[in-house]
Symmetry: C2
Amino acid sequence: MPELRHDPIQKRWVIIASERGRRPMDFTPHAVAPQSEATCPFCPGHESLTPHEILAFRPSGGVNAPGWGVRVVPNRFPALMIEGELGRAAVGQYDRINGIGAHEVIIETPEHHKSLAELPPTQIALVLRAYRDRLADLMKDSRFKYIVVFKNHGDAAGASLAHSHSQLIATPVTPRTVAIELAAAREHFRLKERCIFCDILAQETETRKRIVAMGPHYVTLCPYASRFPFEMMLMPRRHQHDFSTLSDEALNQLAHHLKDVLLRMNKSLGNPSYNFLLHTCPNTRAGIQRAEYWKTLEADFHWHIEILPRLSNVAGFEWGTGFYINPTPPEEAATYMREVRL
Amino acid sequence: MPELRHDPIQKRWVIIASERGRRPMDFTPHAVAPQSEATCPFCPGHESLTPHEILAFRPSGGVNAPGWGVRVVPNRFPALMIEGELGRAAVGQYDRINGIGAHEVIIETPEHHKSLAELPPTQIALVLRAYRDRLADLMKDSRFKYIVVFKNHGDAAGASLAHSHSQLIATPVTPRTVAIELAAAREHFRLKERCIFCDILAQETETRKRIVAMGPHYVTLCPYASRFPFEMMLMPRRHQHDFSTLSDEALNQLAHHLKDVLLRMNKSLGNPSYNFLLHTCPNTRAGIQRAEYWKTLEADFHWHIEILPRLSNVAGFEWGTGFYINPTPPEEAATYMREVRL
């Protein structure tokens, strides 16, 4: 069973995936082997190579068989285990929790060679529906405090399989980055009774300096204090805290906007590796103090997607200090991407 | 002039190094060219290829000329500028500070092909003296709240020059990772009137499960909640908060311990790329409220060195959540390194 362990100094939970138990010789560097359709576990006809599907969108019937548009399966090498009790324990002065959670893969298309940006908006909308439906389903499980949806595209972003896919991880703790965001948003709301993300949107849509794309429903911008060159944040223009409650229509609109932004990034930067992360609200059904703790959540939090092109190596300075050096001012990055002709 | 910008949601300062102003085409991936002694700016005889030296240890006289054992120079492409006023300003709801700071390079040896681990302990002690002396000098500058000493060894760790060197960056803000550590240590002290690092040392030296090396003065262990495989933390056994006040004798002892640990890591993992970071106390001469704010600093903080082998790719999940998945339990990592025969 994997474990969650708490770092008492950094106030950070870490997953120790002991099942994978890697020894020194396992870390010999090797490139990811390019994968052919013949052996790809995510291609139609190879459904038996994955664990049983959790969700699939199919025009007609069937299960674990071809005919799907988007398919969600458990990760074959999960970082956390779905079965079991949370089991919290002290280890001397330290804290641990059993490695309970969910780790799923969202296969975004039956087509082996198509990237997310190349898919038609209707197909991207299906992917977003899978995110929404899985979020809504996993939020029924009170063991899970948070569910992160993320995507690693390309070698430099940590993708291990070429066939386009996203992942989600449900955890019994709130990840630190999200916890910091939630606390900052709550503090801002407490002082001002306004959403901090809405305030940022107001300033950004007024100055327009850092806007990459602005549609009627969504805006993508390069954050004022971007950590990475060409980092982006995508947000709904109207205040919304919970991705799991979006309508099909809202997801269709988001699909168009997301495709536009990914194409701008690809054209500006030559199809870079990238990571993308959905930050939605935490699971309010988790834990007994949740109702009180997240009292103003609906008003103070605003879901968003971080898009992080992986352009340069990150050195130890960043790992050890949390302090980033970004060589490209976000105003310049936004201008490049905004002015791309699609 | 570079800028420091504050992220209001993540509560994090970022350096926007606008002078480097990188455009999309500058990010085309390329391997670091191996560098020969003939063109290496850090080799003796090439002193004119670096900015003027700030500090050098030479048995006999001379300046910016061969004969040195360790040499400290300004970084030729500094992330922050040493000259100027701090200049704090609001940008709408955002906050910025002029990019004032110091960025120096510590050239660890005149020998082009020797790594830090291969140097004799007397030479490593000289490197540590350079750290100490530069820290002590920069702490006289009240513009700087914190000084990070760090080392990137090898391509995967972000080293851009092969000749063995460390760096330091002095910043007008405390980096977030350090700020979290300082706050956690202070809170622990407030509750218990004990140093959290001393408490950890007590548990670790008793169970011995995660100890890599234990000498009379220093201990290196794999932290209970290690983020990375084979991550290590080196600490003095006696409580000390300020690296800049260490005696030559203490640095000699540290040099022996550090060499031992680096050799254990190199032998276990086949000379991996690694990062190393010194976390010492913040500069108590910076800012007017410092004296009050850091009232218990001497008692609550404990300097330490993080050593992070760079073995596996880090994916977007980690960047976007601050949540790490470590495939090697620290107990196993420590056992490997402890049992290495040197």
